[in-house]
Subunit: 348 residues, 2 copies
């Protein structure tokens, strides 16, 4: 009998038991233990039972590194937030996406890891992480136009789905809300209320969501036969403070405005504050519509009329598209655009 076997049968147990140790204890071969662990049907009930008993007794946990080395899978996917501004982290929209993806993954054998890339160096680190085989796929929230990560990742052949349409027209799988449509409906609602001067507070122009929501406002304005007056436009950055400042500017530019479509709920909350500071009543003097249907939309004063995105649907599609790519059964660069919906509350 070989020394190693002697040691195993003599009862000396390592802190982290291996397949072999389980096999020896169960009186079967390594291969059979592997089959039991991987739920292969080709195992007799007796053998299965013996193995399971041994696993329980030794507290055996398979070593995923070893497994991954041969299977070429890690059963792990990454959600990457590529964004220099840390504050975005506390944006409720982002939190919802994380929550949704995580929930969609909970029903699968996949584990979610969250990675953040604030600068080029961290992006490199993440690219390496992905390329070194630590994850089977990546959901990427790359918000700014100049981000390199989408290229690097898709170039490296890592299964990839973007959350949000890519800024340029590149061919890559993505899931997005119908931002243009949502903004359009919001603006039409304001117009339908009989408002004469419908302004907009946009998001950053280097983010596609910011651009698309502006586009929706613009189209609705044009379709209503109104001129697209530059003084009715102010740019924000999707944050509450940015929204407050932009609203103040907007009031200075266009004191006669009587409605405003704001490109995100946090910005709308800031806008509400600026409006109050300026002595304008909402919705009597100025009607306000936000975007996102964040939790704060129900608690602010007045409760916010806003455009809701189907988050569950979106995160579900995100995971679905990614899994298909991982399985290798995906059509190249599949995309989904999910419908939005106006939620009426008191602000418009």
């Amino acid at each position: 009998m070989a020394p190693v076997t002697t040691e195993l049968t003599s009862g000396a147990r390592s802190a982290t038991p291996t397949l072999d140790e389980v096999a020896v204890l169960a009186g079967v071969s390594r291969a059979t233990v592997s089959r039991v662990v991987n739920e292969s049907p080709k195992v007799s009930p007796e053998a299965r039972e013996a193995v399971q008993a041994a696993i329980a007794q030794l507290h055996y946990v398979p070593n995923r590194m070893a497994r991954s080395l041969v299977t070429r899978r890690t059963d792990t996917v990454a959600l990457v937030l590529s964004e220099p501004n840390t504050q975005v982290f506390s944006d409720p929209f982002f939190a919802s996406i994380v929550h949704g993806v995580s929930a969609a993954l909970a029903d699968t054998e996949l584990t979610l890891v969250l990675l953040t890339a604030r600068d080029a160096r961290e992006q490199q680190k993440i690219a390496r992480f992905a390329r070194q085989g630590h994850v089977d796929g990546v959901v990427l929230m790359s918000l700014h136009s100049e981000d390199l990560l989408p290229d690097v990742l898709s170039g490296a052949g890592v299964p990839l789905v973007l959350c949000g349409r890519p800024y340029d027209g590149r061919s890559v799988a993505y899931v997005d809300a119908d931002n243009v449509g949502g903004a359009r409906v919001a603006t039409e609602h304001l117009l339908g209320l009989g408002r004469r001067r419908v302004a907009t507070l946009t998001g950053p122009t280097d983010m596609i969501a910011g651009v698309d929501r502006y586009l929706g406002w613009q189209r609705a304005t044009e379709d209503a036969g109104r001129a697209v007056d530059p003084s009715l436009v102010a740019h924000g950055d999707f944050t509450e403070a940015g929204g407050e400042a932009a609203m103040a500017r907007l009031l200075a530019q266009a004191p006669d405005l009587d409605a405003v479509f704001v490109a995100s709920d946090p910005m709308a909350v800031g806008a509400l504050r600026a409006l109050r500071a300026a002595g304008r009543r909402v919705p009597e003097d100025v009607a306000v519509v936000g975007f996102d249907d964040a939790a704060v939309a129900t608690t602010c004063d007045p409760p916010l009329t806003t455009v809701a995105q189907p988050l569950d649907l979106m995160t579900g599609e995100l995971v679905e598209l990614l899994r298909r790519q991982i399985e290798g059964v995906a059509a190249p660069a599949e995309t989904r655009t999910c419908p939005t919906r106006l939620v009426r509350r008191a602000s418009a």
Copy 2:
């Protein structure tokens, strides 16, 4: 010549090149390539150069799974948020911790992955993930008293540091802010202003931070020779909405209060709103002190006097303690309590 070698030298390159292929191309052995990759000094300049050229030419990226299998290290640490309530995600304090830990790790070779556990099932998944050797260590934000993850993880021998003192007195490494001291100073400040009825809005009683901040208020109250009047206490949940509701209750219980220490800034913002709704002026009628020094403390109306935690220090210590455990040079269950500091603004 063996077939495999023929294939390698004949120019056929796999999509993901291995050490062997680099070795063949560079005309050295696998061992030498490994030395170059791992920056061993025992390599001649010529060999190093040849290897580096080959690596560049093949776009070689080491397979971390294979490496981990033998080194028993992954160079990855996890930040685990064990918290059923998803909304906590958008809490600025949490975002700051993530940011800080991530920044502290950016200077090292370690990669950070973020994991969330909302229920027992996800906790199991994470425990498995850690035990299977996917991470070298864990920073755990386990906020509630009944959480099992600390036990499971430390029981499994995974290097572990808690962010926040454990609820019970268990022996485990942790880093925490001096919540009791901070709350005490805040309360003393209110008392020092000459306020007669200093109330408090607490956090959840199953979170140690909630308990400690209440304790600080209590001690300061007692030390000032005041009675700890139950009607001066209302419980919140660290959220803005919860703070608003609790403040409304507090005003009903103790209409004569003239100061309130609020256990978190988001709650304080809610409290400010409730106070305004009730027609109380801040700070004239009611002085308010918050906790956390979140970004919102500077933008709300009036700007919030609050207790700041040394986040950089805390996250630095967190990473330091964890690294020491990973290196195996840590004393058992090291702990750090970081000093807090009162930041005076307009609300008190």
